[in-house]
Amino acid sequence: MPTSTAKIEEIVSREYQHGFYTPIEEETVPAGLNEDIVRLISAKKNEPQWLTEWRLKAYRHWLTMREPTWQNVRYQPIDYDAIHYYSAPKMKKQPKSLDEVDPELLRTYEKLGIPLREQELLAGVAVDAVFDSVSVATTFKEKLAEHGVIFCSFSEAVQNYPELVRRYLGTVVPYSDNFFAALNSAVFSDGSFCFVPKGVRCPMELSTYFRINAAKTGQFERTLIVAEEGAYVSYLEGCTAPMRDENQLHAAVVELIALEGAEIKYSTVQNWYPGDKEGRGGIYNFVTKRGICLGRRSKISWTQVETGSAITWKYPSVILRGDESVGEFYSVALTNHYQQADTGTKMIHLGRGTRSTILSKAISAGHGQNSYRGLVKVMRGAERARNYTQCDSLLIGDRCGAHTFPYMEVRNSSAIVEHEATTSKISEEQLFYCQSRGISLEDAVSMIVSGFCRQVFQELPMEFAVEAHKLMGVSLEGAIG
């Protein structure tokens, strides 16, 4: 056991491999935030009047809000006046094809192992690559267009599909939702927009790579995905960031809307810079992600693998409004060194016969602190609502922590809500179960540990599952016990 623990610690303490910096000339607005900066961002993006007004309303509301303090993560106060709220690679014009993209930029992605061309040719994945704030390349647009699927940067969507953006923007996460969502609504620079029309099954997995590059640049992405009646889309979001000594704030907003019979599957692999071994630097990942199942029998599924960031603080949520709609949340969160995570989900049951499943796997090592916080709320009209929640924590080393804060609020007597959580090095009950079935101790340990994350990984699309295994950086199999 000591050798295997040492092996894990060696692997998990490896230096961050994606910590290079791409020297590209950037266009940055002055640090700090005021109405002029908000107007400037809006003007730079050539936005319509209503959007500028919306940003300003969000900014004014943000001024009245206070940063929350209830979370189970600790950080130095953020100086919002020291952040550059807009940063874009300087380019002569918008690239029309990959050939026009800055070669430096493409090399950056190659180092990350996601060459756009290869993906374009081999993987068949359309990539909307976001470099800092502006989307620089969007591929496979035509093929998607054949099916009527719109997949573009948020800025393009504002220009080309303003009526769609206006109809759905802020309907799931209003600008007044919380401190960081308000900030995002005021200053969001770009992001992704996806619209899948009625009855269309999106022919490929959609993928976005976010990347934070410039120092002292907050990144405020905004993603909006709409699936019309009977549509299906699987969306992949991956994140890496170069090494920096200062903390950077990432306050994104993701909104998902599923109409009747639609299904949205949203997968995240987050590997931003977690800070060094002493807890210096790293990304503050304070993100608001929420989906709404508006129509009957719609489904939203969140899968996340959170291995990066100094602090991860987010609760991808589902509002189950349509009758018999389904919400799912699958999560693996790893904290090491001085990383902190306070993550989980909210399932708000409004419709009849709504169902939700929550599966959270937390792994803590080093001085890492990992919290699961989840809310299951069954409103009065949600007859026969059903929830099952399972949160498991695995602790590696005696200086880390694993915490569970589940909230269950039930107002309907026909609802069934169940929550189970375990925290351990490895569950004795599971071992006993396997052994009672004639499986040797070693085999049982191996099965259980590899199974610890597998339930979540198997929810990921294939390409991501492979990357997730790589990112965990630890083959848990045979490592513990």
């Binding site: 600790r74 602190q369 915490h403 569970t404 026909s414 609802a415 809500v417 169940e418």
Partner: protein, 459 residues
Amino acid sequence: MSVRGRAIPTPDSMSASGFIPPLQGFGSYENAFGQLSQSVPAWLQQLRAAALDTFRQLGFPSQRLEDWKYTDTTPIAREVFQLPRRPPATEPRAELWEPWVFSGGAAMVFFQGWPLPLQPVAPPLPDEVSLLSLQDALAKEEALVRGLLGTSAPLNEQSFTALNTALLDEGAWVRLAPGARLATPIQLLFVGGSVEHPTILCPRNFIVLGDGAEATVIECWIGESSVPFLTNGITEVVLGEEAHLTHVRILAEREAMLHMGLTAVRQSRGSTFRSQVITFPGQWTRVEIHTRLEAPAATALLDGLFVANGSSFVDHHTTIDHAQGATTSRQLYKGVLNGASHGVFNGKVFVRPGALKSDAQQMNKNLLLSDDAEIDTKPQLEIFADDVKCSHGAAIGQLDEEALFYLRSRGVAAGDARHMLIYGFANEIVERVPWENARRRLRAALQERLATAPPEDPA
């Protein structure tokens, strides 16, 4: 900016904000403080004054505080309370409280917080056991009281603890010398209500077991009142090495009875704290149990049951602090909610850094019988050590359709079948009470409460 290891929260840590002052001001509390008997030791009077200051700074907790997220203190904060008369103006009706004296052992009965002079009904206690009112204990064992007061329930940012300390006058003092063992339970019966003005009562009890001592203490809080009657009681428990305490806490209140009850426990090596909490609430009830496992091999076993009807609010908070390793805790709390009642369960388990081989299990099960009822449950684990075994679970649901079908297929009427299943669900906790007379009384009370709000017969 840099991120370092976070501070470790203490169970009683609260943010500085999130409190509300009494809606009618602090005047009534200051008046009550002024009316307290001054014939107490100077140190106690100073302690009361300091606590009043703390309470004046805090006020009552608001729902902005995480620990009070589901608990609205407005029903308390809006009242102007008085202290009950000393001695009480009336006597309690015997038929109200006599059914609750059932142990056959030693008993103390308090009416409106005032000890009643009872004829001894039980054989005298052995010399190594003290069973006194707090005022008598101050007269006879002042140094001991002074040394213990506030050690299990420290005066800090807990509003209700501060208020209890500020208005502290009476309570029960139970002390067993090392090695003392009692075969029969000691009963502490608190009869509230029967007042004309909104009334506040702040009893403080002590249960102190020396090394190797063993006892069962049954605390009963009963009463009914048409005007708000707030009991803000604290029981401080200190268990020596290898001491074993079974603490049964029964609450059977009605109408405008408001109850804030804290049992705060410190446990030494090898000690066992076995707690059974059974609550039939009045208008507003919150019961907290905090136990600190301060040495290896300490064990806490917590069972709870609450059965609420009407518009009752009932809240159970438990905190188990595994301060040292090789400690064990088990919890099973069950709730039955009917009518428009609102139930809350919040169970916290802390495992401190280095508390290896801690073993904690927690389970909360709730039956929600009406669409007007609400249950909010929050089982919570905070683990700062790796070699531990901790689990918790919570479930909210209704009666098992298959079990109902089974009973009906055996000729049991639908209503009876429902009643049987609800009774069976709740009775699991009653059956864990280790004293037949208590179980008998509790079964009757349970039947009575379930009959008050007959379960709906599904169409």
